[in-house]
Amino acid sequence: MRIGTARSSYRHDESLFDSRTQHGWLAVLAVALLGFPFLADEYWLYLACLVAINIASTTGLNILTGYTGLVSLGQAAFMGIGAYTVAALEQKLGTPVLLNLLAGGFVAMLGGLVVGLPSLRVKGLYLAIATIAASVVLHFVFANWHAVTGGHSGITVAPAEILGVSFDTSFRLYWLFVPITILMVLGAANLFRTRIGRAFIAIRDRDISAEVLGIPLLRYKLLSFGLSSFYAGVAGGMWAYFFRVVTPESFPLIMSIFFLAAVIVGGMGTILGAILGAIFMTMVPEALKLIVGWLPLSADATLILSPVRTIVFGALIVGFLVFEPLGLQEIWRRIRRFFHLWPFRA
């Protein structure tokens, strides 16, 4: 029972991480993130960078789909906008890296605002189809606007360079991507402590009464689209610095489905859900590859097993949807509750 009406107790209550245990876990996480690059080999650093990029993009899609209830299958295309913006700026103007990433975010945001316009009228499946249509249009632009995108052969991107340091290895990129992703995730968490985030959730839960309660629907739906594609744009920019070549085939529709699956598997409309979902979707295929590698099989058998891997991955996703519709974050919460009460209740 909370009695205090003192301001300090509200401040405590309103903070992002309010318990001592949470602070403890944050410290552990910080140490792990700082130590990881020194212990991990190139392969694991590569995966860590990929996970950071995917978390940034999934967090963006979660704002739109998980929190505002607008289903989009355009996230990869918006990443493409960000990636092309960064690649073109890097190639043609050689502007600073952080500026390029921001620009990637903003240009993607403009794209998001345009694609979001029909969202006042169309919802659900129809909106999803509209975002697929937008992806197709964007793919066409990427492939045919030669002057800027380099057509089908795409653009090769020089390594990111900040203050004379060239970010040309996964080890170095880790120190660029992880802080950016952390900032983006914290930004999203902050959003939902204010009127903006509450408005998004209200629109998701019942948009018509939200309007009568003072929320202009179109403005907030567009804002959600804009934010979500800004996140995608920055993630796409990081992607460009990571893979160093951007082509029209870099951001296929299946990638948008990948992000949507990450949001759902992780747990829609929770910050932790997007993080866990992105980790799951990135790591499980790798883990399956590793497992197959360990099996004492001939090269031929390994080749045959490759589609089986995809099937197992798909089955795992379906399994989660069936057995834990609230996603990975719910499993995490249950584990936490268990240890919270343990050993008094099992």
Binding site: M1, R2, T5, R7, Y10, R11, D13, E14, G187, A188, N190, L191, R193, T194, R195, I196, G197, R198, A199, I201, A202, R204, D205, R206, I208, S209, A210, E211, V212, L213, G214, I215, P216, L223, L227, G269
Partner: protein, 277 residues
Amino acid sequence: MHPGKASPILEVEGLTLSFGGIKALTDVGFEVAPGSITTVIGPNGAGKTSLFNTISGFYKPSTGRIRFQGEDITATRPPERARLGLARSFQNIALFRGMTVLDNIKLGRHAHLRTNVLDALFYFGRARHEEMKLRQEVEERIIDFLEIDHIRHMPVSVLSYGLQKRVEMARALAMRPKVLMLDEPVAGMNREETEDMARFILDVREEWGVTVLMVEHDMGMVMDLSDHVVVLNFGQVIADGTPAEVQANPEVIKAYLGSGDVSELRQRLHQPLAVGA
């Protein structure tokens, strides 16, 4: 409490609203005096909720005007009407299930906050300041007042019907209402919950100086609380006056007789509410 001849805070004039062939409202007009408790009554399907929905901007009337504080708001968008001070609760409860009680209430303040996206992403300066102030005000003025301290961190979906109605009222109060519109605030409540709610409504008027416009079927409560009663039947105003006048009006008796509600009405008229102040 007799508001006398002060100019009305809300004025409805010649409202007509149809859904396809059904005329939900026909030439509806009445006035709400500032500081009054005005109640709209009428048999099921009379058009009371449709009237509320038209006033809050949900439906667009085919003819007629709505004036709020002297200004014509007939063409004003619903969010702007909310910002001007028209707050409401819904007959079939429209709380946001994905939010806690506290967040539902805070949401009501939306139109009066200034936090923009950048403030929100970084959560410093204006965002933090505004949120802290809002939290304090919600706690001290609304949660304490409506006696819902114990449920503030709960998701609304686990609450009883009566408590959900109370949270809806809390959210409407967070909207800084000038006119508070309550659509059947005690429907489905037991006697005790009804008496609590009646007391809250009186207190809101006294302590906050808010004008109340409500729709209610509980006749005991209507007669006890209202300064002014408007009776709708088949989308038309058939009587309009003090509770005593309306009660004596033969048209009203007939309307309820027609819908078979009259015995219930009589019974309720003789069973006044015990409203402690």
